[in-house]
């Protein structure tokens, strides 16, 4: 059993066995090279083809439909090998060397390279070896490149599969030859355009000349189109010229699409799967902590990958098709991509709605700390920093809390994820004569009960020793809980005249405390303050740079008030 190809020689259709086709094709190419310097090259070839068509028609009987190798061999014997044909061009001998080079170039020009998978030299699908042939690079480098890509979030795997789908296998002899054809570079792309220009000009000249003799049907003679490689013997016309330009522009865009697509793909995959100690993982932890169960988290990840990954993959896919002029029947690719993408959108909506629903009800838990000796006139506040959090790794994360959600953080260790938040302390004037300390715990949930349960599970235990209040560095919310707006706010109410010392450790605890100078929280620690009706007033602020515009007016109004009080 042999595969046949349908060809059209001088307007007559032949079914020809593939190997015979290849031989005929090569033969005609060699003739074309032989006559390359001849003025009427195209005409000579057309005549020869016409004769070949005649011979083949005679060989084709009622019992035999297909042209076989033997027929072609006989045709070649009759017509003669290029070297047997006495060529009479005088310059042939005089400038042999130039001609040889020109011939070589011509041979290359005729034999365009196409991208195929090399199934004879394959590890998985022959993608790497095919690319190697196309770019004239040793296959091993391509394979190493893919192996390296594999470690970037597994991009290599996806990319490889994609290429396996896009790139056709080199199955026939013709395709295998094309796979190793002329290298593709800028030079010969520009040459293609030039060539197409020239050929077009020649055609128009010939056409004008011969139109007189033969009229319209002359055009038919140039319809020498092989089914497998239309571009090799094409009928050239103005459309070919534009096609040439579009090919160059198209290839550029194809390259851009592939390049951008791969960058995106790497970005998407690394941000999803990599667990590095820097960069987006903090954000990812924050996002992960929004999901209540690992299952819903996976769902969200899948949605993310589909919604952003599918268009990226399609961009690479079509970029490749344009870049390598691959022709594939690929409606199914587009359709399944669309289906997956819509599925991703739906999953994403479900995920977001699920998260949002978790925030639908809020609850607050108010707890009054039992202050011993509430009438004392001096207090100090200190944060008991957890020794576990003293190491450098932790410190960097501690500081990073400002980058995302000021009052929320989590630490990821090998075994578990510790989620915790930072409480905020506000110091306000008390209405009565006694010191009050009130702890507010907030949380949200699907139901009010759920929100309340979350509040109750927030652990934040303040202690008092003498006149010093000791705050924990963070509150914990229980391992199994997601972040649902858990917050701890502490309000310290001091009677007017009470003096308070803020330990340096409270720098991250205090939040926007009212003070008469409007200084920032950072400048308030390690100093003693006295409570007035309008807020804290500094009593050992030597060296504190007070913002002038704010200070003068505040101080004035304060002295005015105390004057009026007198």
């Amino acid at each position: 059993m042999n595969k046949t190809v349908t060809i059209n020689i001088s307007g007559i259709v032949f079914h020809i066995e593939e190997d015979a086709y290849q031989r005929l094709y090569n033969y005609l190419e060699s003739l074309r090279r032989k006559f390359q310097n001849e003025e009427g090259r195209d005409e000579i070839l057309a005549d020869i083809e016409s004769r070949i068509a005649e011979i083949l028609t005679q060989k084709k009987g009622p019992n035999r439909e297909v042209v076989i190798m033997k027929d072609i061999d006989e045709v070649i014997e009759m017509m003669g090998q290029p070297e047997d044909i006495s060529d009479a061009e005088e310059k042939e001998t005089s400038s042999n060397e130039n001609d040889d080079r020109a011939q070589q170039e011509y041979a290359q020009r005729r034999n365009r390279r196409r991208l195929f998978r090399d199934i004879d030299d394959k590890v998985i699908g022959g993608v790497c070896s095919g690319i190697g042939h196309y770019f004239d690079v040793d296959t091993i480098w391509i394979r190493l490149g893919f192996a390296a890509l594999f470690f970037i979030g597994g991009t290599g795997v996806l990319f490889y599969l994609l290429l396996m789908i896009i790139i056709p296998r080199a199955e026939t002899t013709a395709e295998k030859l094309e796979m190793r054809g002329e290298p593709v570079d800028v030079n010969n792309i520009s040459r293609t355009i030039k060539e197409e220009f020239e050929e077009f000009g020649n055609r128009m000249k010939d056409f004008g000349k011969e139109a007189k003799d033969w009229g319209k049907s002359q055009k038919e003679k140039y319809k020498y189109e092989y089914r497998y490689n239309r571009r090799t013997y094409p009928r050239r016309g103005p459309d070919d010229f534009f096609r040439g330009i579009f090919h160059v522009i198209g290839r550029f865009f194809g390259f851009l699409m592939v390049f951008i697509g791969i960058s995106f793909l790497i970005g998407i995959l690394t941000s999803t799967f990599s667990v590095t100690s820097f960069g987006p993982d903090a954000v990812i932890f924050q996002i992960r902590s929004l999901f209540e169960t690992p299952w819903s988290y996976s769902l969200g990840i899948v949605a993310f990958l589909l919604v952003f990954g599918i268009p990226t993959l399609m961009m690479i896919y079509y970029g490749f098709k344009i870049l390598f002029r691959l022709q594939r029947a690929d409606r199914w690719v587009g359709i399944s991509a669309l289906v997956l993408w819509i599925a991703g959108i739906i999953l994403g909506i479900i995920s977001v709605m699920d998260i949002a629903e978790g925030f639908s009800e809020g609850a607050e838990h108010r707890n009054k700390f039992n202050v011993v000796n509430a009438g004392m006139d001096t207090v100090s506040v200190r944060v008991n920093i957890d020794p576990d959090m003293e190491n450098d790794d932790y410190r960097s994360k501690w500081n990073r809390r400002y980058h995302f959600e000021k009052r929320w953080h989590m630490i990821h260790t090998d075994e578990t994820t510790i989620k915790f938040g930072y409480a905020q302390l506000d110091i306000v004037p008390a209405t009565g004569d006694s010191i009050e300390l009130i702890v507010y715990k907030n949380a949200m949930g699907r139901t009010h009960e759920e929100a309340k349960r979350r509040c109750d599970d927030i652990e934040y235990n303040i202690t008092q020793s003498g006149n010093e209040f000791v705050f924990p560095s963070a509150f914990t919310i229980g391992k199994e809980y997601a972040w649902k707006g858990q917050e701890v706010d502490v309000e310290l109410r001091l009677p007017v005249g009470t003096v308070i010392y803020l330990d340096p450790t409270t720098e991250d605890l205090i939040y926007d405390i009212e003070n008469v100078y409007d200084v920032l929280d950072d400048d308030m620690v390690d100093r003693r303050w006295r409570m007035t009706k309008t807020g804290l007033e500094c009593i050992d602020c030597a060296g504190l740079e007070i913002p002038k515009s704010a200070t003068t007016s505040e101080v004035k109004s304060d002295t005015a008030k105390s004057d009026s009080a007198k």
Binding site: I12, F35, G40, D47, D84, I85, S86, A88
Partner: protein, 121 residues
């Protein structure tokens, strides 16, 4: 040396072939296959491919022109015909050829005898 001989042979054959093609066409219009049959039987050409560049060149020189004729057994055929210039050209070639043959015969016969006598010495 050998290249020069090949070249000379080719030059000779080319001139002769053109002369023969024109002579054949003088007898009547013909399409390439007919011309080839004639020349093959006279053992002037071995392969058909030789003919097509010659015909095209003669046509481009204005010695021939052609018309298309439909064929029952294949693509349309080009029937070549001598133009007036072609006929004049042929007459000139014929004269030259006759002269040439005469001269060449004379020269080569003498040459051969000298060579032979040389060889015997």
């Amino acid at each position: 040396m050998s290249i020069n001989i090949e070249n000379t042979k080719a030059q000779m054959r080319k001139g002769v072939l053109e002369f023969c093609i024109l002579s054949i066409l003088k007898e009547g219009d013909a399409y390439p296959t007919e011309i080839i049959e004639r020349m093959k039987s006279a053992q002037l050409v071995v392969v058909e491919g030789t003919l097509y560049p010659l015909l095209t060149r003669l046509k481009n020189m204005g010695l021939l022109n052609y018309r298309w004729e439909e064929s029952t057994s294949g693509p349309p055929r080009k029937y070549y015909r001598l133009t007036e210039t072609g006929e004049q050209f042929l007459t000139e070639l014929q004269n030259t050829w006759d002269q040439l043959v005469a001269s060449v015969n004379e020269v080569t016969t003498k040459n051969n005898t000298t060579q032979n006598s040389n060889g015997h010495e």
